[in-house]
């Protein structure tokens, strides 16, 4: 059980959090082309190394936080409150949001 150093609550087991996803800036909806929008929806760097990602402290402070994590070692080198320039909520509920939870929708 990795531990996430929540900037609000102190270090907690990752089971208290929901992984939201790699930071993906939301394009301006009024000018985005379909290609740009779908890059935002679907495309990810998915690095084998350091990544900046958003977690949601579901069972704690209920804050979105920005975490720098190494995806091979799972080491975390920083966790900050998510900034106002943080990721748009694309992954929260798009295709992969409930991958692990077949009961979440009617798709079960």
């Amino acid at each position: 059980m990795i531990r996430i150093p929540c900037p609000h609550c102190s270090a907690r087991n990752s089971a208290e959090f929901r992984h939201v996803g790699e930071a993906a800036p939301r394009p301006d909806p009024s000018t985005a082309t379909p290609e740009q929008w779908r890059v935002y929806l679907y495309e990810r760097s998915n690095p084998a190394g350091w990544t900046t990602e958003t977690w949601f402290h579901t069972m704690g402070c209920r804050r979105f936080i920005s975490v720098e994590r190494h995806t091979v070692t799972n080491e975390i080198r920083s966790a900050r409150p998510v900034g106002s320039t943080g990721p748009g909520p694309a992954e929260a509920l798009s295709a992969r949001g409930d991958a692990g939870s077949p009961d979440a929708g009617g798709q079960a």
Binding site: M1, I2, R3, R18, V20, R26, P29, S30, A32, P34, W37, Y40, L41, T54, F56, T58, R62, R63, F64, T73, N74, V82, S84, G86, P87, G88, P89, A90, A92, L93, S94, A95, G97, D98, D103, A104, G105, G106, Q107
Partner: protein, 935 residues
């Protein structure tokens, strides 16, 4: 028959058995007697039994090899528990112990014939045969699976009580031999809290069975541990795994009323001190009962006072083997020959029928013996540090893999035999130094460098001139390994997978080095080059019961649950919620709503209290429709889409006063929607003044529906004008219901009837529910369940998100296209919906109502709508028999080609027959004009 205790020795210094407490138990259907403190195996050996099981493939008789937990021949069934490690498990009175993997009996086993054809059953033989004819493979497989080893389970077994515990501690020491004990004491003296975990029942490791000098050092160490309250000791417990961030799993047996307890430890520093495991020697006959490791002999004599044989040959390459020979002589065993591996002496093979009878030496000499003891080297169980990132390296001097020291985080240290060799004093000194360093690191001090412990030279002895078993539990011989290498399975991973060596119950603890050594011999590549396979968790097997612990499956019930249970509600499990599906007759409940009045408990409906001046902005952002002009006292239906335009949730939101709103969501979507709103507020619009508070269970929610609902409401509501003019459709009011203040009511109609949904402070839910039933008695009031509600909403043509929509359904395909307001600046999913509206409307599926032509037909949900040649045009998403109309009614997602009203479609039923149905003009079957709703 009580077994004779003929092999029990007189009292030994340090013995664990209590001669004043005899215990009776059963073995293989007969009664035996052992002593308190015995293991099952020591009691049986004392009673003259020396064969405990038969092997997996060749059904060879097996006895004691290591006399430890990992002893491959000592796995038995105890009562309902399969695969009990009999060389570890303490004897208890009344145990019913049976051999496993024997048929029809331990003495006569028909599968033993396999031994005769062993030369044909080489490793991987099954890959090369049973190929043709393919239709016979299932029959072959039946036969193969009869060979499955292990004990038996029974459906009648009860789950039993297992639990868990969390521990936060500065230092965990895994293993309480001399180094582990010293490390624990030193860490405690550095000011740390310490958890000391020992797999055996007592502290001390090999000091327990290594003579009087060791015992006196042990009693000193035990006293030091006992004197330090900051050390918590767990015996008969094992560290089964080290996971990321020093999350350490400890399996503790027989504690606090639990069969087993999984202790989850967040450790500052983990000190691995598991000691060494003695390695078997490979030679023909090395699995015969009577062939034992030197440590097995020393344990049996010194801990359990059991004489392991009468006439012994000893092959020793180290001090422990020498000491075993001395122990044997001391207790009167005739040691006929001691061969010194350090001087190049060895044996050729062991022979005997059913058990050891003779040992053949390299020069051809045959020595009759019933005991052959080998001491040819060690395996360092690098499991825990391997899990922590260390890749063990071959130490040719010590002839074993040792920790490399690289790749370990500073929070993991190792001491004792795992690291190197030394006298007891040296081991203790190393343990103390490592414990002190662990203390420093746990307290955030730098500490010194990691102390070293050199490996003693040891001859590299793996295999005699003959072939023997490298893996006893898998029946894999060195010959199999050589053959596999020749076929190209010549890396340590491939040979493991092909031969299955190291994949049995001991997971390589006895087998790995010999397998790799033989592979090295076969390939000519050095052991250091081949490397060892990765050790996987758990270090020791752990029961499903312990891993599961207590069942924590949160459930949720409404404040009216007790009433539902008392009134025969049939439960419906919806996520965590337990709700009434119906109270006996759903169709009747539905009819009563159409004719009189009914009440349904809709507490699980998600509810969020929104407050603040910027709530309309938030609503505009998350819903596809417009919200800027929602007046105080009004409610509106809204649909939410995700950023890909797919329908996510729906519900109504009411404006209670200037800055206060109540939003409802679907029951299953409540948590998701809450997070969705917070996400927008926290990551995109931090300047908006909105507070979102979940109030799902702050209110008991009751829907009152039916033509007589206003009449009923008038009897219970105070302070609200309920007339159509004053409280019309899609309006919200607050007031007092049945004497309860602070209730919210809104007029909406999922059922299609005149209906009020009331949200009552939850503690008064049962009071209001009972008050409604009492007040409506003369109106024909009845409670109705979820099933009746589903019938009613389907009659009205109201969709259910995630039932009538799926993971790719855009708003337009749910009949909600008209709500999508693309002229808003922004809302979730807007670009996708805009492109969808521009490009895809003509081809996207549509939601339609279907009426089967046969009025008695109700095509089950998910029935497919098909073309003449079996192509798929859509599916039924909802269907019921309508009690109001007396015919089947359906909603369906269909291809636009068949979506036009009046189209007749073919539906393939699950039974395989086809029916036809007509697409209707409107989604609603009952009251499409909405007259009843607005009454």
């Amino acid at each position: 028959m009580i077994g004779t205790a003929s092999r029990r020795l007189p009292a030994q210094t340090g013995e664990l058995v209590d001669r004043s407490r005899p215990l009776t138990f059963r073995w293989d259907g007969r009664d035996y007697e052992g002593l308190q403190g015995d293991t099952i195996v020591s009691a049986l050996l004392a009673g003259g039994v020396d064969v405990f099981s038969r092997s997996f493939k060749y059904s060879r008789p097996r006895g004691v090899l290591s006399a430890t937990f990992v002893d491959p021949g000592c796995t038995v069934q105890v009562d309902a528990e399969p695969n009990v490690r009999a060389a570890h498990r303490r004897l208890a009175a009344g145990m019913d112990v049976r051999p496993q993997n024997v048929w029809p009996s331990l003495r006569f086993d028909v599968k033993a014939a396999n031994g005769l054809v062993g030369r044909f059953l080489t490793a991987g033989f099954y890959y090369k045969t049973f190929i043709k004819p393919q239709r016979l493979w299932p029959a072959y497989q039946q036969v193969l699976s009869r060979f499955a080893s292990g004990g038996v389970t029974s459906r009648q077994n009860v789950h039993g009580y297992y639990d868990k515990r969390y521990v936060h501690v500065d230092v965990v020491v895994a293993g309480a031999g001399p180094a582990g004990l010293a490390a624990a004491v030193a860490a405690a003296d550095a000011g740390c809290s310490v958890l000391l975990v020992e797999e055996e029942y007592e502290l001390g490791g090999h000091l327990r069975y290594s003579g009087e000098a060791s015992l006196s050092m042990l009693s000193e160490l035990r006293a030091q541990v006992a004197a330090r309250p900051s050390i918590e000791v767990m015996t008969d417990s094992v560290v089964t795994g080290r996971y990321d961030d020093n999350w350490v799993a400890v399996m503790q047996r027989d504690v606090g009323g639990a069969i087993e307890r999984l202790v989850k430890v967040r450790a500052g520093v983990l000190v691995a001190a598991p000691g060494l495991i003695e390695r078997p020697y490979v030679f023909a006959g090395n699995d015969l009962p009577g062939v034992m490791l030197s440590t097995a002999v020393r344990r049996l004599i010194n801990l359990y006072a059991v004489k392991p044989g009468e006439r012994a040959v000893v092959l020793t390459a180290n001090a422990d083997g020498d000491a075993a020979a001395a122990d044997l002589t001391r207790v009167g065993v005739d040691v006929v020959r001691v061969l010194d591996g350090r001087a190049g002496e060895t044996i050729r093979r062991a022979t005997g029928r059913g058990r050891l009878q003779a040992v053949e030496l390299e020069d051809g000499t045959v020595l009759p013996a019933d005991l052959l003891v080998t001491a040819t080297g060690w395996t360092a169980p690098t499991s825990l540090i391997n899990m922590a990132g260390d890749r063990p390296v071959w130490n040719p001097t010590a002839a074993r893999f040792v920790p490399s020291g690289d790749g370990l985080p500073p929070t993991v240290l190792a001491t004792g035999g795992l690291v190197g060799d030394g006298s007891t004093e040296e081991l203790i000194a190393h343990g103390r130094a490592v414990g002190a360093l662990a203390g420093d690191r746990a307290e955030g001090r730098a500490g010194g460098s990691v102390p070293e412990l050199a490996g003693e030279p040891h001859p590299a002895m793996f295999r005699a001139s003959t072939h023997g078993f490298v893996d006893f539990s898998e029946d894999v011989s060195s010959k199999d390994v050589v053959a596999a290498a020749k076929e190209g399975y010549d890396s340590s991973e491939l040979v493991k997978r092909f031969t299955t060596a190291t994949m049995g119950p001991s997971q390589g603890k006895l087998e790995t080095i010999n397998t790799i050594a033989v592979l090295s011999e076969a390939t000519g590549r050095g052991i250091e080059d081949l490397g060892t396979t990765v050790w996987r968790p758990p270090y020791a097997p752990i029961s499903l019961g312990a891993l599961a612990g207590r069942v924590f499956e949160p459930t949720r019930v409404s404040p009216m649950q007790s009433w539902h249970e008392e009134h025969g509600a049939v439960p419906l499990l919806a996520g965590q919620w337990i709700r009434p599906d119906h109270y006996g007759a759903a169709a009747e409940e539905a009819r009563n709503v159409r004719e009189n009045v009914g009440i349904i408990d809709v507490t699980p409906l998600g509810k969020l209290a929104l407050s603040g001046p910027d709530v309309p902005k938030l609503l505009n952002l998350v819903y596809v429709n417009k919200w800027s002009k929602l007046a105080v006292g009004s409610v509106r239906y809204g649909v939410m889409c995700a950023e890909d335009g797919v329908v996510m949730d729906d519900g109504v939101t009411g404006r209670l006063d200037e800055h206060r709103y109540l939003m409802s969501t679907t029951s299953s979507g409540a948590a998701t929607v809450w997070e969705w709103l917070e996400n927008w507020l926290q990551t995109a619009h931090t300047d908006w003044q909105v507070h979102v508070t979940p109030v799902t269970t702050a209110y008991a929610s009751i829907n009152v529906a039916g033509p007589k609902s206003r009449q009923l409401m008038q009897r219970v509501v105070e302070g609200v004008d309920l007339s159509t003019e004053a409280f019309g459709y899609m309006k919200v009011r607050q007031g007092r219901i049945a004497g309860v203040d602070d209730c919210v009511m809104w007029r909406i109609g999922f059922t299609g009837e005149l209906s009020y949904e009331m949200h009552v402070p939850a503690s008064y839910g049962l009071h209001v529910w009972e008050a409604l039933l009492e007040a409506g008695d003369d109106l024909g009031i009845q409670a109705f369940g979820v099933e009746a509600q589903r019938i009613l909403r389907l009659e009205k043509g109201h969709l259910i998100v995630a039932q009538d929509t799926d993971g790719l359904t855009r708003a337009h395909s749910a009949g909600l296209g008209g709500m999508v307001k693309l002229d808003k600046d922004d809302f979730a999913g807007k670009p996708e919906l805009a492109w969808h509206e521009r490009d895809a409307l003509a081809t996207a599926p549509r939601l339609v109502a279907l009426q089967p032509e046969d009025p008695s037909a109700v095509p089950p949900e998910a029935s497919q709508i098909i073309t003449a040649d079996g192509g798929i045009l859509g599916r039924i998403t909802s269907s019921r028999m309508s009690p109001t109309l007396g015919h089947g009614i359906c909603l369906a997602q269909v291809d636009p080609a068949v979506a036009a009203p009046g189209t007749v479609v073919t539906i393939r039923l699950p039974s395989g027959s086809d029916i036809t149905a007509t697409v209707r003009e409107d989604l609603a079957f009952v009251d499409p004009e909405g007259v009843r709703l607005r009454a």
